[in-house]
């Protein structure tokens, strides 16, 4: 029996991958624990776009997560559209130069509601997105249906510690990078895929959640200050949304959120050994992209170990 600590995206992916590999697990998540920060994520499965600032291993390895998610939860495979305000089109050229697997498009051709607003954009056709809350609920329900116990209390066997920033006592290199986001509702705009708006100072993305719901994210601030979204972050994110489409000005703000992304100094999610156990942590802004990849890697290690033992 393996005890998975934490029920955010890393924990639920680890538990699922281990169960898929035929390894019995339990999930330890205190009842009083705050909602995992992965509930605030964009849910973009965008390895190629992330390549703008992430190292190549995120781009290369992250691609596998799209099929993994599609095999377990509902995934929308409609790619990512990247645009920039007219005066910042130099940012678009830079983005194109720093990434691959894209082509130039007229944004209005892909997203009719952006017709006439942007003369050109980049389309990353092979990317996908999902709804984090729905995806995590699906994984959890599936595990429970398989008889996996979710409980509080001390772990019994070997552990796979996926507690994010709560594990910083055991991972001294781990730091928090604050992220802030908003969810809005407007029936006036329809988008069928995530749209990234490039801006030299506050790049932002808008992920459609269906039925007029949109997630707008996300700031990146080197601080461990928790607490609600700041006015400045809200203004920046909303002004970016307004730049994408002025009708966002009339949208209802449904919720706001702020959380700490657990991050290692190289900002690369990683597996660390801890005695007989493992840590899967440092998801940074790559939780949904990299959690399945690291979960499968841990499952592979455990299977290999038990093969040697027999």
């Amino acid at each position: 029996m393996i005890s998975v600590l934490g029920s955010g995206v890393a924990g639920l992916c680890a538990a699922t991958a281990l169960m898929d590999a035929g390894i019995a697990v339990e999930v330890i998540a205190p009842e009083q624990a705050p909602l995992p920060v992965s509930h605030l994520a964009g849910g973009m499965l965008a390895p190629f776009c992330e390549g703008e600032s992430a190292p190549d291993q995120i781009v290369t390895r992250g691609q596998a997560s799209i099929d993994w998610w599609a095999a377990h939860v509902e995934v929308t495979r409609r790619g990512t559209l990247v645009v920039a305000p007219p005066r910042d089109t130099a940012e678009l050229d830079r983005f194109a130069h720093a990434t691959r697997a894209h082509r130039w498009v007229t944004p209005g051709d892909l997203e009719p509601h952006l017709e006439g607003r942007f003369s050109r954009g980049l389309f990353f056709e092979d990317e996908a997105h999902l709804d984090p809350k729905a995806a995590l609920a699906t994984l959890r329900d599936r595990l429970m249906a398989q008889g996996v116990l979710f409980r509080d209390g001390p772990s019994k066997g070997r552990t796979v510690d996926c507690r994010g920033i709560s594990a910083s006592g055991k991972l001294p290199d781990l730091r928090g990078v604050r992220g802030e986001m908003l969810e809005v509702y407007t029936p006036e705009i329809t988008l069928s895929r995530p749209v990234r708006l490039l801006h030299p100072r506050f790049p932002c993305y808008i992920v459609p959640r269906g039925e007029g719901q949109f997630m707008i994210g996300a700031t990146m601030v080197e601080t461990t200050r928790s607490g609600p979204i700041t006015a400045r972050a809200a203004m920046e994110l909303l002004s970016a949304a307004y730049t994408l489409h002025p009708a966002f000005a009339e949208a209802e703000i449904v919720m706001t959120g702020a959380g700490l992304r657990p991050s290692f100094p190289d900002n690369i999610p990683a597996i660390h050994r801890d005695g007989t156990g493992f840590h899967i942590n440092g998801m940074y802004r790559h939780g949904f992209l990299m959690a399945p990849v690291l979960a499968m890697e841990v499952a592979g290690i455990l299977i290999q170990e038990s093969a040697h033992a027999h």
């Binding site: 130069h97 730091r175 928090g176 601080t223 200050r225 900002n267």
Partner: protein, 253 residues
């Protein structure tokens, strides 16, 4: 000399916008920079993990007041910086306009006066205006940081003649070109003109390979300084043969 500190390496490196702290650390190391700047206005006192990484670089830290729009905000941020980093150095930035990021000269002088009187060693981010420079020195600043071009624009030295005049006017004041530098050649040009250091961030942080770019800037700045110290030849209107004409072999004789 920057407030009594001599710097061999004349690159001052900003620490924002890097892909990761690890790449930032490698960029600082590749550049050999001795001074790094760090912002606090937005991060507050909560960024201990990131600040520890900066401290480990061994560089002298020049906290900045980036993101402040009034003298009062800048003074408060400077006090927080002094507490957090234990330094009296402060890069004073008071932004007049969120969009153009132009310095607000009036608030800048006001904040400089308050901070200098309070024992801070102020590095004011200013324009190339001579009277503004004089007012800042009157307020107690012993370094000036004129802009090359608007922050993050990468345009290089947008008003070369104005900067040349500033260099000539403030002969004995250390002048650091701050902001707007996009390419190593622009940094070298500023050093050849006799500026004392270059402060930059975006051009390195947002390069495809920030570590290699940091080194490229450090070399260009070193070359520009060396060239200035060695004495650049003056421009001439006419060609002047470097080989004397007299005494040449007369091949057709």
């Amino acid at each position: 000399m920057f407030y009594g500190t001599d710097l061999t390496n004349r690159l001052m490196l900003g620490t924002a916008q890097y892909p990761s702290p690890e790449i930032l650390r490698a960029a600082i190391s590749a550049s050999g920079a001795e001074v790094i700047t760090v912002s606090l206005r937005r991060e507050g006192t909560g960024g201990a993990g990131f600040r520890d990484i900066l401290r480990k670089s061994g560089c002298r830290i020049l906290p900045n007041t980036a993101g402040c729009h009034s003298a009062r905000e800048a003074v408060t941020t400077a006090h927080m910086a002094r507490e957090v980093f234990g330094t009296t150095w402060i890069k004073l930035e008071v932004i007049g306009h969120a969009d153009t990021l132009q310095p607000d000269p009036f608030a800048l002088v006001e904040a400089a006066r308050i901070l200098c009187a309070d024992g801070f060693e102020v590095f004011p981010y200013t324009t190339e205006d001579l009277i503004l420079g004089e007012k800042l020195i009157e307020a107690g600043c012993r370094v000036l940081m004129p802009w090359g071009a608007p922050i993050g624009s990468g345009q290089g030295l947008r008003n070369i003649e104005g900067l040349r005049t500033m260099r000539a006017h403030f002969r004995d004041v250390p002048l650091v070109i701050d902001a707007g530098i996009g390419a190593p050649s622009q940094a070298a040009q500023a050093m050849e003109m006799g500026f004392d250091a270059i402060l930059l961030n975006t051009a390195v942080a947002k390069a495809l390979d920030p570590v290699a770019m940091a080194e490229a800037f450090a070399r260009a700045i070193a070359a520009g300084k060396q060239a200035h110290d060695a004495g650049l030849m003056p421009r001439r209107d006419m060609a002047q043969a470097s080989t004397p004409v007299f005494g040449m072999a007369e091949l057709l004789a």
